[in-house]
Amino acid sequence: MKNRLKVLRAERDWTQAQLADALDVSRQTINAIEKGKFDPSLPLAFRSARLFNCRIEDIFEDDGD
């Protein structure tokens, strides 16, 4: 799954650690999601959407895998 987490984070000038704190996950999790190595659960995707004040599909995009 592709995602725009890194772009959204950069737009706000946040570090991975700051985003991890805001989403109540580890920095390793944010790093893995940004690199596309790990797909978040639905609750985490919802939390991300709420944090960035947008829809889930504005952050995560199904790449057909």
Binding site: D21, V25, Q28, A32, K37
Partner: protein
């Protein structure tokens, strides 16, 4: 769902400590059951039986503490634990049965002890956690 206001790191630390305490208590009662009958209470069956029951009870507490530990992890950490536990379970089953067959068919000179299986599962689990953690970096 109740929201825990403590930080994730603080919650993880608390869950890890609780699991460590239960595991230590379980190990102590296990050691008492293993060595106590000969070294401490001259094979008194009542004391041995009571300690086996206590060991089972504390073991149950350890399982619950482990469930809470895993439930308190975040998405990725839980995925890593799931993969590691799955690998450890599979390796334990396959290697354990093959090892047992070696003993039954007298292809090895020593007895296949359950403690050997615990070592194999423990080291497999640790290795799998390290490998999975590296893979997701």
């Amino acid at each position: 769902m109740a929201h825990d206001t403590r930080s994730r790191v603080s919650r993880n630390l608390h869950d890890t400590r609780r699991l460590a305490v239960w595991t230590l208590a379980w190990l102590v009662t296990l050691a008492l059951v293993a060595f106590g009958p000969v070294l401490l209470w001259d094979k008194n069956p009542l004391i041995t039986g009571a300690l086996i029951v206590l060991n089972l009870g504390i073991g149950s507490g350890m399982i619950i503490a482990n469930i809470r530990f895993v439930a308190g992890l975040d998405d990725l950490q839980r995925q890593i634990q799931l993969e590691a536990m799955g690998i450890a379970l599979g390796v334990g089953l396959i290697v354990g049965l093959s090892y047992s067959m070696l003993d039954i068919t007298d292809l090895v000179a020593w007895n296949a002890e359950i403690s050997h299986l615990v070592f194999v599962q423990g080291f497999t689990y640790l290795g799998a956690v390290l490998l999975a953690s590296r893979r997701y970096q």
